[in-house]
């Protein structure tokens, strides 16, 4: 049996990335993700990998772009204000069809905001974090175990579909310690990357990594073919968890730490005889539209529990095509909803009111 270890979420991400074969990390210090960089700084030099503290978030993501251009797995990590700075580079990665892993341990905003946990980057990361038409894969783990598991999956799918992937956690997830079973060392990537710039050895025409296309006809085709790939991702890679949904009349929608909190509230509500369940999106892009649409046929109402002003709620309303009322339990700025607050919303909805 695999050994169970006690780890911080941020450290689990770092170790899982190494175990998946990632050997190039570029980052810049920012709270609350510093443990990822600290872990990499200790470990990478001992296993022949790269740890480089870049001069800025912008430089770090462009170093990732350079390393990814060679076909080698590369990653960076940051938190909300730093992710905003990386958006230019993420757009270039998407435009050049380069794979990369970006970890975002979210904190409260906007602006410098605070350093306490938040889910307020939902819009930023699910709509394509940067200029132009594109998406990144977005994974929202809800436990340290899932942080480890989804890190490997994010790296694997980034390479499979040649697109950036983001592991979206928050300050709570990054800092909390839980038992975790780490995977065996494996290679999450293809070793054959005919597109990579590794030197021609004078044996093939030169490879070009590029997002510039001055012909609008060709640029349109590039966008179309990228979106065809995105369609396949939506079809094959959408992840979600359904919890006590069989008889549910109220459906909570929550991801990450607020899904953990909602579970406690659901347990209490069930004791009171309220039939409440939960759909937990694990990928935020692609978003689990189909299971939500199915749930909307069954339930009387839905409740989004979020640490932002209702950003995911917009995706839920779209997914269920406004069939049922969708309520919101929101805390922001680094505040975390308590199970009692969620329970109060559930009770109000059970009585047929708006919370």
């Amino acid at each position: 049996m695999k050994e169970t270890v006690l780890m911080k979420g941020n450290e689990a991400i770092a170790e899982a990335a190494i175990l998946a074969g990632c050997r190039h990390y570029f980052g810049y210090p920012i709270t609350p993700q510093t443990e990822v960089a600290a872990y990499m700084a200790k470990k990478m030099p001992k296993i022949g990998g790269t740890f480089l503290q870049a001069e800025s978030e912008i430089a770090a993501i462009n170093m990732v772009y350079g390393a990814a251009s060679t076909g080698k797995p590369a990653m960076t990590s940051s938190s909300s204000p730093g992710i905003a700075l990386k958006c230019e580079g993420i757009s270039y990665l998407a435009g050049a069809d380069l794979p990369a892993l970006i970890v975002n341990v979210q904190r409260g905003g906007p602006g410098l905001g605070g350093i306490q946990p938040s889910q307020a980057d939902y819009f930023l990361v699910t709509r394509g974090p940067g200029h132009g038409d594109f998406h990144v894969l977005v994974f929202a783990p809800a436990s340290v175990q899932e942080m480890a598991d989804l890190t490997g999956r994010a790296l694997h799918l980034a390479w499979k579909y040649r697109m950036p992937a983001m592991l979206l956690a928050d300050g709570t997830m990054g800092q909390m310690m839980e038992p975790v079973q780490l995977p065996e060392p494996h290679n999450a990537f293809g070793t054959d990357n005919p597109w990579a710039t590794t030197g021609t050895e004078l044996k093939r025409p030169h490879n070009i990594i590029n997002s510039l296309e001055l012909s609008p006809e060709k640029l349109e085709q590039n966008n179309f073919s990228r979106y065809e790939r995105y369609r396949q991702v939506e079809e094959n890679e959408t992840l979600w968890e359904e919890y006590l949904m069989d008889d549910a009349r109220i459906c909570i929608v929550a991801c990450g730490i607020t899904a953990r909190i909602s579970r406690n509230a659901i347990a209490e509500a069930r004791k009171e005889g309220i039939k409440v369940g939960m759909i937990r999106p694990i990928t935020l892009w692609p978003f689990p539209k189909a299971p939500l649409a199915r749930a909307a046929e069954q339930v009387d109402s839905l409740l989004c529990v979020e640490m932002n002003m209702g950003q995911m709620k917009e995706d839920v309303v779209l997914a269920i095509r406004c069939q049922k009322p969708v309520d919101l339990c929101a805390r922001v700025g680094g505040m975390i909803p308590t199970p009692d607050e969620v329970l109060a919303h559930i009770r109000t909805l059970a009585k047929g009111g708006n919370a």
Binding site: M63, Y65, G66, K72, A74, T198, I208
Partner: protein
Amino acid sequence: MVVFEKPHALTDAVLHYCPGCTHGIVHRLVAESIDELGIEGKTIGIAPVGCSVLAYNYFNCDMIEAAHGRAPAVATGVKRALPDNIVFAYQGDGDLASIGLCETVSTACRGENVTIIFINNAIYGMTGGQMAPTSLLGQVTQTSPYGRDPKTQGYPIRICELLATLDAPAYLERVTVNSVKNVNRAKKAIKKAFQNQIDGKGFSLVEVLSACPTNWGMTPQKALQWIDEAMIPAYPLGVFRDKGAE
């Protein structure tokens, strides 16, 4: 007997540069150096944003197009992933000395073992002739229509002198390509900047004072003269660091 031919490291693509622009000369010097050192098969070049944005079409080695100013960071990522390959960035003054100044200084400061070719023509060419960080005092551009005024627009930045304050760089030289003699000197400097990388000496940068007749509003001949008359007095040619010679 063939006495002169196109370097193998250059593709057959027709250059898009304006008549009298010196990018073509510098591209050739880079390609000749790559040929003579026998490194084309393991070289990876980084193109900037600016007039030489399409440089990836002109060099036969593997090429990467970077975001504006970020070429040194991209070069760092490539070099760290493939330390045995040869990595060069080709950048203009807006790219290297303005938006990418932080990446330039930091990459030099780390002594990253890469080669940077820096084209200083004292103007933004591709966007139609705006003031560059290297525009001279009094220089008329689209965004300094009354001449660059130091009171509101500051002074020209001297990159070689700036980087020479750092401990790490191995080699910093400023050259120009406005005469046969100067082209030959520039060739030696560029080849040396690649040789240094092969020898593992560290960060090498060659600044090339270049002509932009279109945006300077001059004939090609007059533009070459203006390098002598106006640019060299502001940007003296010479070696600012050579660790190999010390």
